[in-house]
């Protein structure tokens, strides 16, 4: 029976067959990636190293005094937990077949972080003696947040690229959240003043900017297979 569909199918099957041959021929041994948990720990180690590098510049006595205030140490804890949870979620989302529910993991610590920081809004009324921020200090905070987030994001994106994020924008946004939260946690010892509403706003803008930039550019960087027909050689780049 002359059936055009059959003919089409046979040529398509051939090209799939060729692709299989291409892929098998270009096969090189790969080192299995460690699990997402271990990779998140590695990245957190890098964050810790950055923190240790910055220790000589830190205002430790001020830090001790400020951590005595409950909402500030809750905020710091929230930022640290958010950084780790978001990094873990990003690494989980970069491995095919892991549950998408991992992406929700950073939400509870994020709420803790934002909630505890939000209490700082009331500080102006609760503790009028608190040391409030000057505009140029605020600019310093913003520059610090961006300056620390950027290398942390770059490191995270480079690590995530080794896996295969099927939803690159989600993975990149989670990575951005991790970097921004880590930067905010690192900022705590250098903060020359206590949290206020404007301060919180500056932090929020910085965090959203980092998450957004990661989502925009990181997604493209992570999406190694977006092209409909990238050959195996290119896909490995």
């Amino acid at each position: 029976m002359p059936d055009p569909a059959t003919h089409d199918r046979s040529t398509q099957v051939l090209s799939t067959h060729d692709l299989v041959e291409d892929l098998a021929r270009s096969l090189t041994p790969v080192r299995r990636l460690p699990g997402p948990g271990r990779r998140a720990l590695v990245w957190s180690g890098a964050v810790l190293a950055v923190g240790l590098l910055l220790v000589p510049m830190a205002d430790l006595s001020g830090l001790r005094a400020r951590l005595a205030v409950p909402d500030l140490h809750w905020a710091a804890l929230g930022a640290i937990l958010t950084a780790f949870a978001a990094a873990l979620a990003a690494f989980q989302s970069s491995v095919p077949g892991r549950s998408p529910a991992w992406s929700l993991l950073p939400l509870p610590p994020l709420l803790l972080w934002l909630g505890a920081s939000g209490l700082g809004c009331l500080r102006g009324w609760l503790a009028p003696a608190a040391n409030l921020a000057e505009p140029e200090e605020m600019r310093g905070c913003f520059v610090f947040l961006m300056g620390v987030s950027l290398p942390l994001s770059v490191l995270l994106v480079l690590m995530l690229r080794r896996a295969c994020p099927l939803r690159p924008n989600l993975t990149a946004a989670l990575g951005g959240l991790a970097a921004a939260a880590a930067a905010a946690a690192l900022l705590v010892p250098f903060h020359p003043h206590d949290a206020t509403a404007t301060d919180l706003l500056v932090h929020l803008v910085a965090v959203l900017l980092v998450v957004g930039l990661n989502g925009l550019f990181g997604g493209r960087l992570l999406d190694g297979t977006a092209g409909p027909r990238s050959r195996p050689g290119e896909a490995d780049l």
Partner: protein, 196 residues
């Protein structure tokens, strides 16, 4: 019966083949990819991909699988990993298709269009054919069986087969042709038998 062990096997064999591929075993990888093609195709069809787009999805999935092969963890089952990749590529394909205008003004042609995917019984028929072939191959004499298995079924070259079995290429060729002849005879007599 050691005829194409990967063809009819389940998840464990796929997982083992993927592990072999991770350390660079091209033959296992080729067999794995071939076995994955119908699986990917079925998964993509379940997501609603049809027609020519199906083949694009299969190929995109194979490319992504190749790129992602370091992320496979042998402690976990293989098929969910493959399904995650396939579903993502299927969704990509459906989105691409959604952006293109579609012909919807010919209801008759639309209704009468044949589904160009495999028919419902195809898997069963393929399975049955494989069993019949396996039985016929198993009845061949030892030398012929080896030649048929390695050269025809596993698609190895003469050199590979000769290093594998320790026989000369000439002997393999002779055995191969005798085996084919015997198979042709036994399978065609079988067919006549069933037809009668």
């Amino acid at each position: 019966m050691p005829v194409r062990p990967a063809a009819l096997s389940g998840e464990a064999a796929l997982s083992a083949a993927m592990q072999a591929a991770q350390i660079g075993d091209a033959a296992a990888y080729r067999a794995l990819l071939r076995d994955c093609v119908p699986v990917i195709s079925a998964m993509a069809r379940a997501r609603g991909v049809q027609g020519a787009a199906l083949d694009d999805v299969v190929q995109d999935t194979l490319l992504t699988l190749h790129r992602a092969r370091a992320t496979y963890d042998p402690a976990r089952p293989f098929l969910p990993w493959l399904r995650a990749i396939t579903q993502r590529r299927a969704v990509d394909a459906l989105r691409r298709k959604g952006r293109r205008p579609q012909e919807v003004h010919e209801p008759l042609a639309y209704e009468a269009r044949a589904d160009d995917g495999p028919m419902p019984g195809d898997d069963l028929a393929r399975c049955e054919r494989a069993t019949i072939l396996a039985a016929a191959v198993a009845h061949l004499p030892e030398g012929q069986r080896e030649a048929i298995e390695h050269i025809a079924l596993r698609e190895l070259s003469l050199e590979e087969t000769s290093t594998l079995t320790g026989r000369t290429k000439g002997a393999l060729k002779v055995n191969f042709h005798r085996g084919l002849k015997a198979l042709r005879a036994s399978l065609s007599s079988r067919k006549e038998g069933t037809d009668a």
